[in-house]
Each structure stands twice: as C-alpha cells, then as structure tokens.
Subunit: 352 residues, 2 copies
C-alpha cells in the first residue's frame, strides 16, 4: 500500500521550478516592490520607525513587511524587504532617506571620496539583513521561496556619485565619461561588495537572487557593456563560483535589444523584462532563458479592460516557455488592493 | 569646350542625398536642438522676448535662431526653430512656458475639455511659422536644406492631458488606459492637425520633415502600436499623399527593438536613433532605411576621449549604409561650444 502513502517530500515550489527552466502553467507570480507603500499594513508598521534606514535594519520590521503581501495575496515568491543603498551604507558612505524626497548620500566624486570608502563591505553592519533572511526561512510558508537581491553596480554607483536620484543619472554618466579610471574603481568595489553581500544572503537562506539595474537604460552602447553587462556578469560568476545552483534573475531596465547581449554574457537563469519590452519580441530570446515580467504598473492602477488586456498579452506571448509573471517595474503606491487581487485571479485562472 | 564649363545646377545637398538612400561619406551632420540655449547668441536674442511662445511666433527671432548654428558650425541641415506645443496652442488649448519650469497647459482630461478644442488646427495662428520657413528659404545657404517638424501625437497628447511635462508621462498613460475612446479622440485630432500643419510647412518650403515622439519609450507593447506607430504612420501617409517626395524622419525615443515595427509600418525614409540604441544593432535594420543618430549628448559635454570614442563607434557602425550623424537626444545647454567644433571636425575628417 506504499503507493497510496503521500510523499513526505513537498512539491518543489512553482517559482523555483520555473526558474530552473521548467514550463509551469499558470506561471508563478510575484511583484517587484510587493512589500511596500500600496499596502495599508505596510504604511502602519513603517510609521513606527523614525527613518527608512532604521526600518531596513530592524529585522522585526523587515520580516513583517516581507510577509505582508504573502499573507494577503499568496504570491509564489517573497522578496526580502530592504534597499539597494544598504551597500554604499555598509561601504561607509553616509546614506539617508528624506521623507518624500528620496535618498541622500554624501556624493563620491573624486579620489579622496573613493579612498574614504571601506576596503570591503561591512557585513556586520548588514547583520540585520541576514537575520531577516534567517527568520523569514522560519516564518514563510514552505512553498514560498525567498528572493534576495542587490542593486547592480551601475545603478548603485549612479546614486553614490550624484548623492541622490536624478531623472537620467546624468551626474554619474558625466563622471564616468570624464574620469573612467576613478569610476572603474567605484564599480570594481561594488562588484566585490555585491558578491560578498549576496553570498552572505545565500548563506543565510535565500533561494534565489535578483540583481536590479534600474538605470541601465540611460547608458549608450559602449558604456552599457562597460558599466552594466561586465559588472553584472562578474557578480553572477562570483556568486556561482561558491553556490553554483543558486538561481539568478537580472533586471536591467531600459536595456531594450541589448537584453540579447546581457542574456549572452551572464550565467543568470532569468532575465527580467521592463514595461517597454514587447513580450512577442522577448519571446524570441533563447528558450533556455527564463523570462520574468512585464505588466505595466499603470495598467494595474487602471484596472478593468487595460489590466485584462495587458495580462492576456503577456500570458499568451510566454505560454510555451518558462515564465515568471511580474510587473515591468515596481508596483506604485497608488495601486488599489482590489486590482492586485484581480491580477492574481487573472494570472491563476487558466483561460488562455 | 562645354565639358569644362561648370554645371549651373548646384550639387544636391549631402543631407538630402543621404536621406534618399545614397551612401555619403563623411555623413551629413546636424544636431537636435542645434538652435538653442547652448549658444550665447541664442540666449542674447531670446532675452529680448517676454515669453517663449512670443519668441516662437516672431519670425524675426525664429529665423535668426535657426540661422545661428548654421553660421557658426556649417551644419548640413537647418531645423526650423519652433516648439511641438504650438499645435495644441493652435487647437485652442491654453499653452504657456514658465521660465525654468517648462510648459504649462490647461489640462484636457474629459469630454468637455476635448470639445473645447477647435475642430481643426488654426493655420492663421501658425502663419508666423510658415513666414519663418519662407524667409529661411531666402536666407539659408543654398546647400543647407531646411527641416520642418512636429511632435508625434502621443508625445503632444501626453502634455495636453497632464498639462505639463512629467518624468514618465504617467497622467496621459493612465488616462489612455481608463478612457481609451476619449484618448483616441485627442490622438485622431492630432493626426489630422499634424498633417495639415506639416503640409503647410512643406508648402512654405521645408525640404524634409522630422516627427518627434520623445515619449514613445514609456508605452508598453499594445499601447505603443496604438498611440505611437499607427498615428505616426497615418501622418506620414497623409503628408505623402500630397507630397510623395518629401523625406520624413521619425524619431521615437526609447522605442528599442520596436524600431523594427516602426520602420516596417511607416513610409518614412529615415529612423532617428536615441542614445540607448546600440549602433551595431541598428545597423541590422533594413538597408533601405536611413539611420540618424546617435551620439550621447553627455559625451558631447564631456568631450575628450569620451567624445572621440562615441563618434568613432557610430561612424564605424554606419560606414557602409546611408547615415545622418546626429545626437541621440537634444544638445544640452551646458555643452561647450569648443566640443561642438571638435565634433564637427571628428565627423568630417575621413579617418575611419
């Protein structure tokens, strides 16, 4: 009668099956910034911390923030609540978040500024992040994998140089043109720091990694190779040298047709697609690459026919290859909860 | 001895030869926003007009602004000095330019707002533009063609709906998702208005046309077809129905791999490439399409090795096909004059 006995080994989570290249239908679903300001329960706990950085370094807060969207929507993966700028913080750069104004950093724009940074990343400073990961591995449902992450060197460096966000990261682009050797030093430091940071996340228990290059799109061809593709490839290789089986997703917003190059140059399992990528074009990328994306966050705010059309188009384009459903950029604070519920229904009811 | 007699017919300008598909070496060169704030002589005449719109509607000013960069740099084409928002102005929408803040319009975001717009574009209101074209045809060197232009419907509509510029034109994108039928009315009105406007520019004497879709890149796939590709294709067809031989350049910033679709769907002669397009990828587009672009305006600010590398990469990629050298976006006010002079030298000395 052993055949009737249910297996003790739980089924492998959909998200990890899709990431390993298995076609899964309906596709697993999670949303960039799914833990965040569109959730009233997030705003409630966030209000209790004086600063955003305090919040990021408080495991009680970050565990709760990470769990909230899983409880509410049952997404197929959780993503560690944190911020890409904890890396410059742990390299000794002064980082703060002004309410309503975004991040502020003491800009690094010369040799002296670079030499003030730590030689290597301060993993003790980041201990609360790893503590969060360990606790989440206890608290998350067993079938909900946890995604760790870091910002890609170009994107992180663009904040380090400018000291803030800008519409097109012009300060860092100009700095890189004028002082390529100095800029290379920052990028190289970030490559090493990111590898160390991600290795520690994996050690603490994350099941997959996403690297965010939010500002990749502002770089022209030569600079894109230099500051986006090569550093990301080096990070993925560095992580895989220690943990060959950890799946990696690379999200380079605005890369356009250069996703082909990125896909080719890195050992990442999956490529994240931003909103502007035509799913039908993306479906021409090699089938060995898992694609993630790419609903317009504004279609999710609009809801109704716009949401249905967007979801249908994406599901149809990726029906026959491994795909992870996501937005093309982070979910926006104005997003109605009911529309997220509708999205979950649309993706999960098999109707294509 | 007739063979030695110089022909009375002047050689066809390089810019028009390249636009007709002829490989020209070195390629013709002009810069988006070449008439503008980086020129001290422009700032001087601009200071004499109370408002930017007054300036745009004063032929004396616009003729002079158009001629200034030709005198200084001898570019291979001049572009009419004007603004894309004269079209909503001539449709009856209130348009103004606040100093240092960009355009302000009375937003159109409902049926009532749309019904207040004129049925068709007020060409009398735009008479100063056509007057400018006529005068320029007298004043420009004979071998310097004049480019007329308009904004593409999506880009113009995005300002009409939001009432201002925004980082990602979210107000218009949301409006289009929520009220596609109303938004279609605005787009259709702009298609007709743009055709009428461009026909009048051609009648007044422009030698070529460029259609600017500065905000194309923020649209996801379905919306891109609907609001970028189809309206532009309709405008090009409408202009060509009357003037089949007028060359048209389409510049859709951020279109990425969707340039293939745009190239395929319109009768335009040339496609403008933004800074993010890899020249080597663009060179895989059909040889029948003339490519224009795409130096990073920040490389022009940086100068030095960054400028040389950028120019060399672009010249090399397009060496064997018709190409018009340009920036990948408008020249920035901070650009040193000496760097523009250097650019002209780099493009014109045949060293690749």
């Amino acid at each position: 009668m052993t055949l009737d006995k249910p297996s003790k080994k739980p089924a492998r989570p959909k998200f990890l099956r899709a990431l390993s290249g298995e076609p899964v239908w309906p596709p697993p679903l999670w949303l960039m910034r799914q833990a965040g300001r569109y959730l009233p329960e997030y705003r409630e706990i966030r209000a209790k911390s004086a600063s955003f950085l305090d919040f990021c370094y408080d495991p009680k807060s970050t565990v709760e923030a990470t769990l909230q969207p899983i409880r509410r929507f049952g997404f197929d993966a959780a993503i560690l609540f944190s911020d890409i700028l904890v890396v410059p913080d742990a390299l000794g750069q002064k980082v703060s978040f002004e309410s309503g104004e975004g991040p502020r950093l003491d800009p690094v724009h010369d040799e002296a500024g670079i030499s003030k940074l730590r030689e290597s990343i301060d993993l003790d400073r980041l201990a609360p992040v790893f503590e969060t990961v360990s606790r989440l591995k206890q608290d998350l449902p067993r079938d909900t994998p946890l995604i760790g992450f870091c910002g890609a060197p170009w994107t992180v460096a663009s904040y380090m140089v400018a000291g803030r966000g800008t519409p097109d990261q012009a300060p860092a682009r100009l700095f890189a043109y004028r002082h390529p050797i100095l800029f290379r030093k920052i990028i190289d430091k970030l490559v090493t720091a990111s590898i160390d940071y991600l290795l520690a996340q994996v050690k603490a228990g994350v099941d997959a990694i996403q690297i965010f290059d939010t500002w990749a799109g502002v770089l022209p061809a030569g600079e894109f190779d230099r500051w986006c593709v090569s550093p990301i490839a080096a990070i993925v290789a560095g992580v895989k040298a220690v943990y060959p089986d950890i799946p990696v997703i690379v999200f380079a917003r605005g890369a356009g047709p250069r996703l082909i190059e990125l896909e080719d140059a890195t050992e990442a399992q999956a490529i994240g697609l931003d909103t502007s990528v035509d799913p039908e074009w993306a479906a021409t990328l090699p089938e060995t690459t898992v694609l993630q994306g790419n609903l317009d966050p504004l279609a999710l705010i609009a809801g109704g026919a716009a949401l249905e059309e967007g979801v249908t188009r994406i599901l149809a384009a990726f029906r026959h290859r491994p795909h992870i459903f996501n937005l093309g950029h982070g979910i926006l604070p104005e997003t109605p909860i009911a529309h997220v519920e509708r999205l979950v229904d649309l993706v999960r009811r098999d109707q294509i």
